[in-house]
Amino acid sequence: MTNFTRRGLMQTSAALGLLAATGMPALAAPKRGGRFVAGLSGANTSDSWDGRTHSDLFMIASAQGAVFDSLTEVAADGSLKGELAESWEASADARVWTFNLRKGVKFHNGKDFGADDVIESLKMHVAEGAKSAAKPIVSNIEEMKKVTDHQVQFTLKGGNADFPYLMSDYHILIYPAGQIEEAIAKGIGTGLYRVVSFDPGVRFVGKRVDDHYKGDQAGFFDEIEYIAINDATARTNALLTGQVHAINRIDFKTEALLKANPMVEIQEVTGNQHYTFPMLTNVEPFNDVNVRKALKHAVNRQEMVDKVLLGHGRVSYDNPIGPANQFFDEDLPPIEYDPDKSKYYLKQAGLSSLSVDLSASDAAFTGAVDAALLYQSSAKACGIDINVVQEPADGYWSNVWLKKPWCACYWSGRATEDWMFSTAYEDGVPWNDTHWHNDRFQELLKMGRVELDQNRRREIYVEMQRIISAEGGTIIPMYANYVQAKSVKIGTPEKIGNLWQMDNARMAERWWMA
């Protein structure tokens, strides 16, 4: 490991600890063979192979993780590598991007992969009436040009240094041109596994493609089976009785029992997923930055990590950029729970006491109501009276989020800083859930987007994280870990991806039968 970063050290030391505890050799070489069965949550009867609709683990692991490929891929260590694209280069202003595509790649139905497939697959997201979650990404492309059969040139409306990162989004899958409808119906991609059977909301079975461009470096199982198990207890049972090899999202309450089982290993990574309390900064009293600062000092972050996440998380100082991001600021000045400071800022705002409503529901995140109640009790010492309004889970995202002045919310985070900021903190974007506006922040956001120099970008994004932490309208008390479990029969690489659950949903590609 030549590239030694603090972030990398943190993740691997946890993994090494686990390995040391089991007494296994640290590096067992992957080998081909076997049938991998996983019990995964996040499945719905409305699931399909249409990447535009994917939003939860089951379909992400089945589609991007097994059957389909994207242009680029985020490796387990957070770096970007090519998947269907071999290499890429940008113009100096990061506006024109040229992607060189991999040659000799075939779809599962035998069709050769080429530039047309890329262009047509991307166009799906901006088609008339399409409701793709990746629309904001693709609509920034002004022109897509096929240079040769294996080279595509994208001209963007505005420069974006992260464009290759954005192409790794799990919504942007590459389908065979001219057969997209059929490919969506049957699941025809270029991935390591072809569809054997798919029953939406119930089960997916895939078989390893014999001659795949990823060769022997990935996709070690002969066959994979993903079973939809939305109930946490049923998932745990399935793992303990050996009917599945791995499960996602273990129930923290039974974690100790899983740990005690010698046949089971728990994997835990801190990623970008964070739980938030956004306030509308154009609504009284939150329009006063001193009120926001008073509230920032009125929350006991460590207590929330301990009691709401039962320790499976990490304190955040109102920073939407997480440890899985490239330019995460480890040295962000801490915001401690401090009633005196909180009172001081209240006085600055010209108030002696404050009474505000906080809307919460467990639809926002598991334990949101408990977190709000903890906030209520810690804020009492600061002279702030928080009235917790328990909202119905049904229709929470339509009726409460973005509507009520202060509520609970969550973000799974984004692979890049710009992506996260421009989704939820840029001036005027629909999901700016704080209606926040800060001139310097906007300026930096635009600068960072077109800056190709890594050191310069780090400076920009660190400054942005400091601004948003000190003055922003979102209280972000914690990053929530991804905690999953697997049987000791399954081997995994030393480093597990932390961008998303289950090794970035790519366990079919990266894990093997030990």
């Binding site: 119906a185 049923a234 009785t241 995202w397």
Partner: protein, 332 residues
């Protein structure tokens, strides 16, 4: 047999009217829930434009009465429509995807078959067991056997289903791995394999329904044991077993059949919790999923299936009780 034919026709017509009423109630109820399909499916991503687009595509912007009537017209033609989820995907690509999952009927069919299989397996275990236990409890009433049977069955019916399920999982899947805790049912399984996978949910449900049937059998028989003709049989010197099986049981059949029918209907409509615990892909989970995302065509179709199950099973029970009773079979 003319009387029975008349009852049959009469009850079937009433049944259709009931189904009609049920469909109205369900339609109104689902519409009164906060949020609709568009908001539910988009979740956090529900921007006003996206919600509008989906509503327009699915015709959710039309008034409720109009939507109901067009659904009803479809059903009368045997077309249960397309689930919103599938219709929504279709509008993504702009045409038929030909995935074979298009219609609600096709979506429900495999799930319903699974449910029927589970109900059938349960009934095949539970009905003989509870009848036998009931008869034996009546025969040896107020003995230790009677008390133990009563306490055991009442305990199992009084415990929540998921609790019974976990107990069975603990003993039959974790400690002694006899049956799998995961009912991973799919096409292409052999009958025996399918039966093995279905066993734990079926046993759980057996525990749930046995008490009701067993106690009704016991009560109906004991009720008759005081009647003069039973006394006569006893005085003739018949064995107690023969008195109960040959003389009492035939007259006690009517209430027992009714209770069995009710329990069978329960097995078809009310086993969501057991399905969730064992991840059994039955119709109950599909129903709950559909209510969650307000997929009205699927919810409606499931409700019609449930209501029809109740109506038909009750009808069967009534017909059978008439047939089992000569006095009703030949009315004066």
């Amino acid at each position: 047999m003319g009387a029975i034919g008349r009852i049959l026709v009469q009850r079937l017509i009433l049944g259709v009217l009931t189904l009609f009423a049920v469909s109205i109630v369900i339609f109104v109820a689902v519409n009164m829930l906060p949020g609709d399909f568009a908001e539910a499916i988009l979740g956090q991503g529900a921007t006003p434009e996206a919600v509008e687009a989906i509503r327009r595509d699915l015709g959710l912007d039309r008034p409720m009465v109009q939507r109901y009537l067009s659904w009803l017209a479809g059903v009368l033609h045997g077309d249960f429509g397309t689930s919103f989820a599938q219709a929504n995907f279709r509008s993504f690509t702009g045409s038929e995807t030909g995935s074979g999952l298009g219609s609600v009927a096709e979506q429900i069919k495999p799930r319903f078959q699974n449910t029927i299989f589970l109900a059938g397996t349960t009934a095949a275990i539970a009905v003989p067991v509870s009848l036998t236990l009931g008869v034996l409890a009546a025969l040896y009433r107020n003995t230790v056997f009677d008390r133990i049977t009563n306490v055991a069955t009442l305990t199992s019916i009084s415990s929540p289903e998921f609790f019974l399920a976990y107990i069975l999982i603990l003993f039959l899947a974790v400690l002694n791995p006899v049956f799998p805790s995961l009912s991973n049912i799919h096409e292409g399984l052999s009958f025996t394999e399918r039966l093995r996978l279905t066993m734990l949910p079926a046993l759980t449900l057996t525990l749930v329904v046995t008490a009701h049937m067993m106690r009704m059998t016991r009560a109906a028989i004991i009720n008759l044991l005081a009647s003069p003709y039973i006394e006569m049989a006893r005085l003739k010197g018949l064995s107690p077993m023969r008195v109960i099986i040959v003389h009492a049981l035939p007259n006690a059949l009517a209430p027992i059949i009714n209770v069995i029918a009710l329990n069978l209907a329960y097995l078809i409509t009310g086993v969501v919790v057991v399905e969730v615990v064992f991840v059994y892909p039955g119709i109950g989970q599909l129903f709950v999923d559909s209510v969650k995302i307000r997929d009205i065509p699927v919810v409606q179709a499931c409700c019609l299936v449930f209501a029809a199950a109740y109506i038909l099973l009750n009808l069967t029970a009534d017909i059978l009780s008439i047939l089992s009773n000569p006095r009703l079979r030949h009315p004066k």
